[in-house]
Symmetry: C2
Subunit: 450 residues, 2 copies
């Protein structure tokens, strides 16, 4: 909206009965996510704000809003719980933030498949599904507040990826209903491989209103924090659990002492200098897990039922990007990187990186499954000095065989995607001919228009 003054009150009024928020402070609040994890994005995006927040309560209202926005040339940036870390939901060119939390219907699980409104919170989906014998296959560490639509549009995996891999793998995300940004918005239903056209596309090529996800059979999980005097023994143990096909788990994380020292809610449970393993272990696997822990020389710092952990701080809220959040609560001088270690002999590479960087980069490993095998991802903290040093660390990690996904960019292709997904770009041409959806995020589109 860089052109002539625009009559926002008239536009808001034209939306009829759809809920609209115009108060600048509240609009600014809902124009943000956790972009400030990155000192780079914090500088770049701090002034970003929408003009209005519009909160439809169903798909018909989404269609009505998009019709009006298209006609008026108003950009639309969709938003769920606002828990992203890359400015996914931040409206670079102002306009409307489309708050989708009102589309929160959770249907009964049928044949292991959940149909759910895009705005449903992940925590509420778990709570609704568990009594039916099902649970989410995967969720981000922001489970308490994130929406499923936001997870699908802006995330990639998380707790549970040790069993089911990333969300983009065939079989988890089964379908999505998507509203197009056209004079007369259409509702498309994407199924099977097609669904990756809108998965992790930041809402740049359609507004997701409803999702079908394959679920996992619910299990009774025990929430573990275990301690080791050194990081590599901790990583070796976590890797052994991750690879132990007979031990049922949902989370396998290692955190170096330098990061664990920031975990205020665990301060009484852990010893100074301890590196931590964080796990969700199924009840039937507690005995072999603890036997393996003893054999590796570790100790149990905290062991809770899932319900008790929820009442306190669950183990998963020290994992994935919550590791960074826990650190930032104490020390605004840290940031982080996203790393995938090489598929083979990854622990040797981990050991080399840990030896080279020590406490400048407190290591933090997340074990996941990739192509049927255990693989090692990392979100190490970095004690930030300046951007050249950060770039030098990234270059060195790449020289060691790691893949680094830059979390310090709001551009889709410069982060986890690495390159323009042609299916996503082609789909945007079809669904958003005027380029009004979350503008500025998909480089391939911007370049094709330039």
């Amino acid at each position: 909206m860089n052109d002539a003054p625009f009559d926002w009150p008239a536009f808001a009024a034209s939306l009829g009965e759809v809920s609209v928020e115009a108060d600048p402070a509240l609009v600014k609040l809902k124009s943000r996510d956790f972009y400030w994890y990155s000192p780079v994005l914090k500088q770049q995006l701090r002034h970003v704000t929408a003009d209005l927040v519009v909160a439809p309560r169903d798909e018909a209202q989404v269609i009505a809003v998009l019709r009006r926005c298209f006609a008026a040339g108003v950009p639309v940036t969709p938003r769920g719980g606002g828990t992203g870390n890359y400015g996914q939901a931040m409206p670079l060119r102002g306009g409307v933030v489309l708050d989708l939390l009102g589309l929160d219907a959770i249907h009964p699980v049928r044949n292991g498949v959940l149909r759910v409104g895009a705005g449903a919170k992940l925590g509420e989906i778990e709570a609704a599904s568990r009594p039916q014998g099902w649970e989410l296959r995967m969720f981000p560490s922001t489970r308490r507040t994130a929406s499923i639509g936001g997870f699908v549009a802006g995330g990639s995996g998380g707790v549970g990826s040790i069993n089911f891999g990333q969300m983009r793998e065939a079989g988890t995300l089964l379908s999505a209903r998507v509203v197009t940004m056209e004079a007369e918005p259409r509702v498309l239903e994407l199924r099977g491989a097609e669904v990756n056209r809108v998965h992790h596309a930041y809402g740049t090529n359609g507004i997701i209103t409803e999702i079908e996800m394959a679920m996992a059979p619910a299990q009774s999980w025990i929430d573990y924090v275990v301690g080791f005097p050194g990081f590599m023994p901790c990583a070796q143990f976590t890797d052994a659990v991750a690879r132990a096909d007979g031990i049922a788990k949902r989370l396998c994380t290692s955190v170096a002492a330098g990061a664990a020292a920031y975990f205020k809610p665990l301060r009484e449970a852990i010893l100074p200098g301890e590196s931590l393993g964080l796990f969700y272990i199924a009840a039937q696997s507690v005995a072999p897990f603890e036997e393996m822990l003893r054999a590796h020389g570790g100790r149990t710092c905290r062991r809770l039922t899932e319900a008790a952990a929820e009442a306190h701080v669950p183990a998963f809220e020290f994992t994935w990007n919550h590791t960074t959040l826990q650190a930032l609560k104490v020390d605004r001088g840290v940031t982080y990187l996203q790393v995938r270690y090489p598929a083979r002999d990854y622990l040797a590479t981990v050991a080399g990186v840990v030896a080279a960087y020590g406490d400048e980069m407190p290591m933090h490993l997340e074990f996941i499954r990739v192509d049927g095998a255990v693989s090692c991802a990392a979100l190490p903290l970095v004690r930030y000095t300046d951007e050249p040093r950060l770039r030098a660390i990234i270059a060195d990690l790449e020289a060691r065989g790691c893949t680094v996904f830059d979390p310090h960019t709001y551009v889709l292709e410069d982060g986890g995607m690495k390159q323009t997904d042609p299916a996503q770009l082609a789909f945007k041409h079809e669904t958003d001919p005027r380029g009004l959806l979350n503008p500025g995020k998909m480089r391939g589109w911007e370049e094709s228009r330039a």
Copy 2:
């Protein structure tokens, strides 16, 4: 029992109220397993028979029988459903076959753990557990008739090993109660890693009376037979499903057309020359499975609910060693090998073997999980000419990087074990000082006595 005549009727009478069978025809019947899959074992073991079959109904009776057998120097060979393929339950030196099917108590599943008598049939365990929301993590293709004790003592994995690996991996077999063969038999409870002292030891070092197993959450499975015009496309598809972390499955098998041609119960469902993929796919994964099948150029030959498959012949009764059984029902001129392909690039090795042997060795792959990664095992049929040719094939497979487990031996170490397990041997010294349990099967023991 090579020494002086022994008064079997008096011995039988001394067992009091324990059920005894002395009729030679019935005793011979219960002295056999499916050893005749192997033309080598068929020659070696055809005359093996016990003197008595003794069938205790509880652990107290097991103790009473062992006490008497020890005193009289009578060998004891334990037996469950008699579904082994290596003469595991065949009494090489006569004496007593201990029929344990009477120890068939199935307790309710607690915290995902099943406590069960060694004689309980696997099919009955499944039937009892499913309504409680649990199922076996793994079972052999002989599920309908095999006992859990026999599976623990004589098996290694099977259907479900694509998820949970082999039974010897930590976390599935949690404990075993074992009665020793001593003047005063003791009951030992092995837990954790100790349990592998008796797992796959053929009952040579203790009589297993009760077992605790970790279970899997029950799922609703769809039984698939799919067809491909060639074997390698079929293997590539099966491998892709096995590695697809988002597709929930319990069975991933490929069978070459040369073996599938023997599958009489599938004759109407499959086309001449078709190679088959056999799968158990969870209901929530049916759509992505079928999408992947179309992408690979395969077709669905048969698709049944699990209940409908049970009423007919379930897909798993064409897999694992049932592949061999189905072939032998039609053609007594075939036998088989047990092969583990190399961990890396296994499909390239499979392609080389298939090209080299063609229809002399119709290939049959079973995908399983090993150390957190998908791995490829095989039980190819072999059109048997003579033993030198069989040995030449084995040597060639080993030269290609395969590990071959000889199924043509009743000696523990010469089959799947490859070498004496020192823990099993040490445990036999402790539990069976006179060497009366299943004598002749553990080479390490025989050699230590020689």
